[in-house]
C-alpha cells in the first residue's frame, strides 16, 4: 500500500514539475514533509544538500533518497520511476508529433503565468523551511553570509555547502 502511495505521490510531482531542480522543491516539501510526514524538515534540507553535492539531476537524487528512506531500495526505484513516468510519456509523444508544439503560442502563454508563479512557490518553501533551520542569531547571520557568497560573489554552491559544514562544526559542536 505504501509503495502505491509513494508511486502516485511522485507521479503527481512529476506531472506538474515545471522549471526543473529547485522549482520542484516546493512540491516535494508540501507532499513529502507536510502531507505524508515521510521526512522531517531537517532531513529534507540535508537531502537537498546531498543532492547538490552528488552528481546527477537534483530531482532524481531527491526521489531516490526519499524513496529509500521510506521503503529501502524498492522504495527508491518506485519513487524515481513514478516521478519520470508522465514526463517521459509526454516526451515520447512530442518527439514524434513535434510540429504543433514548436513555437506554440499556447505554451508561451501558459508560461507567462507559470514562470512568475515559480518565483512565489520557491519563496513559499523558503518561508516554510526557514522556520526550522534558521532558528537562532547565528543562523540568521549565516543565512545572509551564504546568500551573499552565492548571489553576489557567485561562489559555487558545493563550495558554499562545504563552508557551511565547517562553520556548523565550529559553532555548534
Amino acid at each position: 500500500m505504501l509503495l502505491i502511495k509513494l508511486f502516485f505521490t511522485f507521479l503527481g510531482i512529476g506531472a506538474v514539475a515545471f522549471g526543473g531542480g529547485y522549482a520542484m522543491l516546493p512540491l516535494f516539501e508540501r507532499m513529502i514533509v507536510e502531507q505524508h510526514g515521510w521526512l522531517d524538515r531537517s532531513l529534507f534540507l540535508d537531502m537537498i544538500a546531498i543532492s547538490q553535492m552528488t552528481p546527477g539531476p537534483i530531482a532524481i537524487n531527491s526521489a531516490t533518497f526519499i524513496g529509500f528512506q521510506i521503503q529501502g531500495v524498492i522504495g527508491a526505484l518506485v519513487a524515481t520511476i513514478g516521478m519520470i513516468t508522465i514526463p517521459v510519456i509526454l516526451i515520447s509523444l512530442v518527439s514524434v508529433y513535434r510540429e504543433p508544439f514548436k513555437n506554440s503560442k499556447v505554451v508561451q502563454a501558459i508560461f507567462t503565468g507559470l514562470r512568475p508563479a515559480l518565483v512565489g512557490l520557491i519563496f513559499a518553501s523558503v518561508f516554510s523551511l526557514a522556520r526550522d533551520a534558521v532558528f537562532d542569531l547565528w543562523g540568521l547571520i549565516l543565512f545572509f553570509v551564504f546568500f551573499g557568497l552565492l548571489a553576489v560573489f557567485r561562489i559555487h554552491p558545493i563550495l558554499v555547502i562545504l563552508i557551511s559544514a565547517v562553520l556548523g562544526l565550529i559553532i555548534y559542536a
Partner: protein, 193 residues
Amino acid sequence: MIGLIGRDGMRISLAKLFFSFLKIGAFTFGGGYAMIPLFEREFVKRYGYLDEDEFYDVLVICQSLPGVIAINFSVFIGIKLRGKVGGFVAGLGVALPSFLIILVIAAFLFAYIENPYVEAAFKGVRVSVIALIFTAGFRLFKQNKHLFGVFMAVLTFALVAMVRLHPFFVILAMGAFGYITTKVGEVVRHASH
C-alpha cells in the same frame, strides 16, 4: 528523423549511447542545467549527430514540459538517435549513476546521523541550503521583474504560504491564468485597432 547519422556516417550504437549518457550522469554536479553544455559537446560538437539549431529546439521543448530536464532531454535525444529503445537506454544511462550513488550515501547517512559532529555540521549546512533555494528564487525573480510577474509571484506566495493551498493546484491555476490573460490581452489589443 529517427536514426540520425553522425560525422562518421554511422548510427550511434546502443552501447555507445548508453555510456555517453552514463558518463554525463556520473560526472556532472549541480543538476540538469549543468549537463546541457556536456550534452552539446558530446552530441553536437564531437560526433555531429545533431546540429546546433536542432539541439536548441529540443532544449526549448524539454524546458516547456514538466519533469526532470536531464531525463527529458536524454530520452528525447535517445529517441531521435535510436528510436524507443534508444530513449530508454539514454534515460537509464543518465539516471543510473545518481540513483546508485544516492543509495550508498543514504544507507551510510542513516548510520551516522546521530553522531554529534555530523549533526553540528548539518546544522550549518541546512542554513546554506535555505540560502541556496532563496538564491534560486531571487535569480528567477530578477527575470520576472515586470508588474504582472511581481503580481503573479506575490499572489502565488500568498496562496501557498498563507492560504495553504496545494502547490499542485496552484501551478495548474497559474498556468491557466497566464494563458487566459495573454488571450484576453490579444483580444483587447485587436479590438482597439
